[in-house]
């Protein structure tokens, strides 16, 4: 049977990808961020998954305003890297895991999450930057296949934080009932606090971010209890995308341990963070 081996929460700011693509990770502006990633990257490289379920949002690249699904899952064999208007990132195409996608879709609909499905999906920085956070030098191919999970965090009303957490739990259950032996990592992406437009543009709320980083491990219910207005007020109109971390957290078991985290301001206009959790499942806490 499949199981969730770890969960990674990470920002997906485009400039983090650009810094890697343009060899700027040692620049004084970027070095602290990438130094913060290093221990997590080392651990992940030692615990490679077969499949990554990546929870993210599209940013006007694959999904327009014609049709805005609240939750959607990619079901394709592969996904092209999107040209977001400044040229494609020079990273490998993303190989899908269509059997797991198909299983997730069926199980989720049966558990009353009536999600949309996508046979074609050009994946933007929301998905490829987290993959690069996991694996900075993929070479010709990413080291795992991918199931993209899309959440509408742009048009209001976004799904509630509580619903995202429940959605994650249903995804976790569905993964654990997948009959193939595969190791699955779940990525929750986006955040942390930031706001791109309006008079509050440039907002950063470190106090809220650090509280969130702490609670995501052992008290996700406190985060699920916040309203959409709470998220916008505290984390900014774009910071609300942190609700996608709750999907990741919901998919993990209650028995997790924190491997590493890092918090850095700024990455462009955003507070950037990473938090990595080992899913101990029914293993004893002392096992490594």
């Amino acid at each position: 049977m499949a199981n969730v081996i770890w969960g990674l929460a990470t920002s997906h700011v485009p400039s983090i990808g650009a810094a890697m693509d343009n060899g700027k990770t040692e620049d004084p502006y970027w070095k602290p961020l990438f130094d913060g990633y290093a221990p997590a990257r080392k651990w992940m490289a030692e615990h490679p998954p077969d499949v990554a379920v990546i929870v993210y949002n599209d940013h006007a690249n694959a999904i327009g305003m014609d049709l805005v699904p609240t939750f959607a899952i990619g079901t394709a064999d592969s996904y092209d890297v999107a040209d977001e208007g400044w040229g494609r990132r020079q990273v490998p195409p993303v190989v899908g895991a269509p059997q797991l996608s198909e299983h997730l879709v069926r199980e989720l609909v049966d558990s009353s999450f009536d999600i949309a499905t996508a046979n074609r999906l050009d994946v933007d920085h929301g998905l490829t930057v987290p993959l690069s956070v996991y694996c900075s030098e993929p070479g010709e191919a990413w080291p795992c296949t991918v199931v993209p999970v899309l959440v509408n965090v742009i048009q209001s009303p976004q799904p509630t934080a509580a619903r995202c957490y429940e959605f994650g739990k249903a995804i976790g259950q569905a993964i654990r009932s997948f009959p193939q032996d595969s190791k699955v990592a779940v990525f929750g992406t986006g955040g942390m606090s930031h706001q791109l437009a309006g008079a509050r543009a440039g907002l950063i709320n470190e106090q809220f971010d650090r509280w969130f980083l702490k609670k995501i491990e052992n008290d996700p219910e406190a985060l699920a209890a916040l309203t959409r207005e709470d998220y916008v007020r505290e984390a900014g109109t774009e910071g609300i995308e942190m609700i996608m971390w709750l999907v990741m957290r919901g998919a993990m078991s209650t028995n997790i341990s924190r491997v590493h985290d890092a918090y850095h301001v700024p990455a462009s206009n955003t507070a950037a963070a990473l938090a990595l959790f080992d899913d101990l499942g029914d293993r004893p806490e002392t096992a490594t």
Partner: protein, 130 residues
């Protein structure tokens, strides 16, 4: 969670001399109003569309059915007016990219700061409210 919210503070953050609203929530009413504008900006991810736009901006806007106000905002690069007329930053940013303007430039526009001031505000921990 927290007793005091940033909305009940009377302390004005620096550089708040701007006609932008504090927050653009992009509810369904907003995205309905901004549909043509956002679709037009979104189309600019394709090189052939960028070329056609640059050839004749007004005609390109008409093809997408922008309102006269939206079209004027685009032609004048009035980024705040675009937001007030239903724009989404992820879409209007495609137009800014065509103009080689950064998200920090736009942040400066929305907050009444220069790009340098806005970038510096981020580097020193971001703008705090409440």
């Amino acid at each position: 969670m927290k007793g005091k919210t940033m909305l009940d503070t009377d302390e004005q953050p620096t550089g708040s001399q701007t006609k932008a609203r504090d927050d653009y929530l992009l509810d369904v009413e907003h995205t309905r109003q901004g549909y043509a504008l956002n679709q037009m900006c979104g189309s600019l991810i394709r090189a052939e569309n960028r070329a056609r736009f640059s050839e004749n901006e007004a005609r390109y806007c008409d093809e997408f059915g922008l309102s006269p106000e939206q079209k004027q905002a685009v032609l004048e690069r009035d980024w705040t007016a675009m937001m007030n007329l239903g724009g989404s930053i992820f879409y209007t940013f495609k137009l800014a990219t065509l103009d080689k303007k950064s998200m920090q430039y736009l942040g400066g526009v929305f907050t009444g700061m220069s790009t340098e001031q806005f970038t510096e505000a981020l580097r020193s921990g971001g703008r705090r409210f409440g």
